[in-house]
Symmetry: C2
Subunit: 441 residues, 2 copies
């Protein structure tokens, strides 16, 4: 019975039936235009670089052109790491190149590179269980068995080699570490991503593409010592400027708590960041624009395109330091690609279960299943949620997300427009429910 | 009626029914072992390099270990080109890297690279139709609309930009040429391959990956001048040694014309050459081994793993210069990947139509359709066929061949073992028919 009541209430909130609003949003062109133009005209936009600064300037111009209010940038500074040269070659009888990329925060081999024997492990657990004595002075190589999952949970389950391996290898005295890319494809395009050394001394830390990791594993299985000549020359270049780009759809009630919709504007340096996360920026802005074009919502909608997420969630932290999480009715982030929303999770409190149910009912016609009432998240909105901001998540299908994630292959041609536009419909629906009734203009 | 007679005749030629021979071959392990070991232990093996020399040494050892007779290398020398650095960057407002690789025989930009404006064309025909005056001093960029075809015919139909574009751009005074990779994938892995300058002066000639070509095309569509900083430093290093590796299954009748089965051992330098053409070498050797293990065929089977095919069919030409095409009952080459054989073509003469029909009937249970009676081919066996050697072709499914062809992605993980082993069954069947009755040992 809840869903019928909910849908009636929602329909009453707009002169247009929800089904029509969703049908129109499924044909959305606004998001695609934003995505094409950002990722073509700016391209890759690593946090802290001049490319990210160009992306902010582009964003301010575009968000103004779309008619949003109070478009502005909140700048901040953050430590910045940049990639250098990167090459790996197996020496000796089986001489051949392996395709490698440095992980964010990787140390440098110096311009002469390092030559060291490889010691390989089938999993991160095996690496941890082995004695440091067999790793000292060696290049540690860690395999894993990650496979695709719709909810993306295999990323955290198998990502340990990248997240924690380099610091641990450093503590154990390894010369360097190479991990099998934390990815689910078979392309010779390695997956970069941050690692953190904490108080350990940075050592060269790279990811081999999945096929190259397989090649190295087969070479090690021959049972003879394998030596690699590794060159990676990234650098820490000190504090640089980044910033969050903010825009608004002003609500009718200036005292009402706001609805924040977010993405991150920065990308890794090896791709124009279409799935990660140009798509998210395009989706949330297109949904807000659709609401704005229908009339004025009760609550102000705040659009935040965060800066410098990939390299340490710097934008999310800066925003939470300047703004009060309790000013928000709900916060939500799109940052898991361009494939369809398949599940809705909320964490807006037991006292707002009816509102969560209205949202679930409204999303059902888009094929979206109800998920949790008590969990939601997003890298950049995490700090706001820790301050008490209620959150919700429109979970995207992650089955192929980790084929592309943090690789050079994160490009426009990978987008399935039907799925991408279903996201716009889902976010428009969410804003209909959460930003309150829209007054027709 | 032909097929029933043919199958009876064939069954009589062996104590084992054909169906059993094919069923066993579909479970073949020999080819997979050859393919894994060659492409892992040697890796990439560009013609004329020390890597190709390692491949020849590996091959002699393996072909001897498999029990073949008269295993030997026929060496030759050939002009050799090697890759250098390669980078491309769009300058100015849309600054971003494009992924490029040099085409074989490309000229060098010099170590400082060149900066020039891009002039783009939607097809090779459009480039030809445009006046040289708009190309002089520019970087010519050529798009195309290649899509996959089962018979691979889109390669020649759309490959002109690579095959002929660089020489023509040189004659027209272009500073350099970048072609959209002659490929059907959407990976950021450019497709290399030879180009020939003939009497034109070599200019820098590269292939952009398919997504990068799309990105450049969108940037040009913005309508502003696009300048690229291009660095490619390949070199011609003069004559180097390559060679053909030859092995035999001796026939009962030393005076009978021989059956030659071929592949090429060399690969491009950017991948271990699994589809192109480690698979072919593994398939033909495994089929010959299976025949040898059943007994002695009437005709001698000659296995030729050609050298230096990619870089100019040097092995095929050297072999034809030393051997007489009329000594062969039939010649055949496997050089189109690892996917299934779908069609059989013959060009063995009108007077041997019955033999062609026996072959067609014998292959039908493997799902192989009859093709032409008057055409067959293969890059390396082409020169022998010009000398009068009858040819046949077991045509492989090329639907995904040009996803991988001449890219770094030509790796083991791409092999579908069922399809790969169907090739072994097809070649074993062909040898049953063409090398004459096998005497059980």
């Amino acid at each position: 019975m809840i869903s019928l009541i909910a849908l009636s209430a929602l329909a009453a909130a707009s002169a247009q039936p929800l089904a029509d609003i969703q049908a129109d949003a499924l044909e959305d062109e606004i998001a695609w235009e934003i995505l094409v133009d950002l990722t073509t005209e700016v391209g890759p936009r690593l946090g802290g670089t001049s490319a990210e600064a160009r992306a902010r300037a582009w964003s301010v111009e575009r968000l103004n052109a779309l008619g949003f209010s109070n478009v502005r940038v909140e700048e901040f500074t953050m430590p910045t790491w940049v990639r250098g040269e990167e090459k790996a070659r197996v020496l000796g009888d089986h001489s051949q190149e392996l395709i490698v990329t440095a992980l964010g925060n990787s140390g440098s081999t110096g311009i002469d590179g390092i030559k060291a024997q490889v010691v390989g492990y089938d999993s991160y657990a095996d690496f941890l269980a082995a004695p440091a004595s067999e790793q000292q002075g060696k290049i540690v190589f860690i395999w894993h068995d990650m496979t695709p999952t719709q909810d993306g949970s295999s990323y955290s389950a198998f990502g340990g080699a990248r997240f924690f391996g380099p610091a641990e290898a450093s503590r154990r005295g390894a010369a360097a570490i190479l991990v099998k890319s934390i990815g689910t494809d078979n392309d010779r395009l390695p997956h970069t991503g941050m690692t953190n050394f904490g108080d350990a001394t940075p050592i060269p830390a790279g990811a081999l593409s999945v096929p190259d990791a397989g090649q190295l594993r087969r070479l090690l299985a021959l049972g003879k010592p394998i030596t690699i000549d590794l060159l990676m020359t990234p650098q820490q270049i000190g504090p640089q400027t980044s910033g969050n780009v903010i825009a608004e759809v002003p609500g009718r009630d200036p005292d009402a708590k706001k609805v924040l919709v977010a993405c991150h504007l920065d990308s890794w340096d090896n791709a124009p960041g279409v799935f990660d996360d140009g798509a998210g920026c395009a989706i949330v802005a297109a949904a807000a624009k659709r609401i704005m074009d229908m009339g004025q919502p009760e609550r102000t909608i705040e659009i935040v395109w965060y800066g410098a997420e990939e390299v340490g969630i710097h934008g999310g932290r800066d925003f939470a330091a300047r703004h009060d999480g309790t000013d928000y009715h709900v916060v939500a982030e799109s940052d898991f690609g361009a494939d369809r929303v398949w599940r809705v999770d909320t964490n807006i409190g037991e006292n707002r279960k009816d509102e969560a149910d209205r949202l679930r009912a409204a999303l059902a016609p888009l094929g979206i299943v109800p998920g949790s009432y008590t969990s939601a998240g997003g890298a950049d909105i995490g700090p706001l949620m820790q301050e008490g901001a209620p959150g919700l998540s429109l979970r995207q299908d992650g089955t192929r997300y980790f084929d592309l994630h943090h690789t050079a292959n994160d490009t426009l041609d990978k987008v399935d427009r039907d799925q991408f536009q279903q996201n716009v419909a889902a976010w428009t629906t969410m804003l209909m429910v959460m930003a309150g009734p829209v007054n027709e203009e």
